[in-house]
């Protein structure tokens, strides 16, 4: 009896706690809990959840992508079930549709922009509070799941990049954009959550800058090898050409090396030749003429001894002078013994 009596205060406390806790009011339960103030004269009170299978489909709308819908209560709350979601983190989009529009409608930009992105899996309970200002989706607060918070940080940077088109002169725009792209790549490099890392890289303009970032791409995809999701596979296949060394650069590099090698060898040979005794460069006949000159023989005598014409003797003499850098017969006489 005393045990039964003791239950009532506990039940009363639980009921008070349920009543007072604002986080549990409206829609209770585990999953993706959201809150939005919709103008229900314009917008249908339904939240739609789409699974985005790869980054190319961030801004794709089709019924195939829409996997779940949740009614938005009169107080603006909704609950999306996570039990049916895959166990690995995936990218999702929540959107709202106008009453007179198809449920499968996506509005990008402007005051009626109707969607937001998040990361979730079948255990990621999280809460999203959407504040409407002049826009349907004004300030958004995410709680409970860190990958979604990181995603929003990147989306903030991407939004800043978009705003450059309106609030920055053309030249400064490029400068700021390049700096932000570099920062996003650096973030992608150091982030240890594969999907967030790839999301940052995707928004860093790497697709247009890929030719000059081959080395970065190779090491990036090498880093994530093994644990790749479809997001990686699709993105990697798009940039496949830039993950291999550039054939043109490789061929021109090899040619340069070859030319340098050949040049080096020729230089080495010349050096070797010049460091040799110049006498070694004389032909057999020139050496014979050289020794006859040293004996004091005239050109005519040399011609008779060697049985060659006088002009040939003169030609040999000139060649000897040139090779030994001499100018006269006296120089030949003074030349050190070979």
């Amino acid at each position: 009896m005393s045990v039964k009596a003791g239950r009532y205060p506990i039940l009363l406390l639980i009921m008070i706690a349920l009543f007072c806790n604002p986080k549990i009011e409206g829609v209770a339960g585990q999953g993706i809990r959201g809150h939005i103030h919709l103008d229900t004269t314009q917008w249908a009170p339904v939240a739609y959840l789409s699974l985005i299978p790869d980054f190319n489909q961030l801004y794709s709308i089709s019924r195939k992508l829409m996997i779940q819908e949740a009614i938005i209560t009169s107080s603006g709350d909704f609950l999306l079930d996570i039990n049916s979601l895959p166990s690995e983190d995936h990218l999702y989009r929540i959107h709202f549709s106008k009453k007179d529009d198809s449920p499968a409608s996506l509005i990008i930009g402007g005051v009626d922009e109707n969607h937001l992105f998040l990361i979730a899996n079948n255990r990621s309970n999280q809460r999203i509070t959407i504040e409407s200002d002049t826009r349907l989706i004004g300030r958004v607060r995410f709680e409970g799941y860190n990958p979604t918070l990181a995603l929003q940080e990147i989306n903030g940077i991407v939004g800043f990049l978009d705003s450059l088109d309106n609030f920055c002169p053309d030249m400064n725009r490029e400068f700021v954009r390049d700096a932000v792209h570099d920062r996003l790549r650096s973030y992608a490099d150091t982030c240890d959550h594969p999907l967030i890392s790839l999301y940052a890289l995707y928004h860093s303009g790497i697709d247009t800058d890929a030719p000059s970032n081959r080395g970065y791409l190779r090491s990036y995809f090498r880093k994530w090898r093994g644990g790749e999701s479809d997001y990686f596979r699709v993105f990697r296949s798009q940039l496949a050409n830039y993950q291999k060394p550039n054939v043109l650069i490789a061929v021109s590099g090899a040619l340069t090396a070859l030319l340098l090698g050949a040049g080096g060898l020729a230089y080495y040979r010349r050096r070797k030749q010049s460091s040799r005794n110049p006498y070694q460069s004389l032909t057999v006949q020139e050496r014979k003429v050289f020794s006859l000159i040293r004996e004091g023989r005239s050109n005519k005598e040399i011609s008779e001894i060697c049985s060659i014409s006088l002009s040939t003797v003169k030609s040999h003499v000139n060649s000897i002078y040139s090779k030994l850098r001499l100018t006269s017969r006296t120089d030949v006489m003074d030349y050190p013994d070979p």
Binding site: Q57, Y59, S60, I61, S62, R63, K64, D100, D101, S102, P103, A104, S105, L106, I107, I108, G109, G110, D112, D165, N166, F167, P169, D170, T208
Partner: protein, 178 residues
Amino acid sequence: MKTMIKHIPILLYCLVLPFGQSLAQSAVTTTANKGSITAITGVEANTQEEVRISRDRIIELQNESKASETKVNITDEYNFLSFKIAASLEQGNAQIEIFDPKGEKKGGFTVSSDGNHTGPKSSIKERVRGELAKSFRHPTKGDWIIRTKPSSAYGVIQIQTSQVYQENLDFNKATGKK
């Protein structure tokens, strides 16, 4: 010179408008049919402080798979450019992309519908719709391109472009907000 340039659209406008119509009502509409494509162009010229040229193009898709491009040439005379593109499909898919004169993609979306256009008249629930609004202050000079790539598509794509010159650029005014 700038004042002269600003008046060119007004002069053009006066040439094609019947007498007696006021500038405030200015909206010239020409319609051209080319296969499944219907283009509607509107030219609007306002005051000396603001020149605005708006163009609407409606592309009707009847089992269409042919890509098309819409060019918007931006010269020094304009300091604001905006696009509003909407695609509504009952069957097939369509990809819409905006490129600046440097060839850099500035936005886009894809709509894809598994609906059966030849079946009973499709309801609103079977339609798939995408909409993109983008605006650029001091847009890069040159040809901006809107590329549409439909594939076996039934539906409509509407492209609205607006190039504006304002002496003192007011973002809200340029985007048409009150």
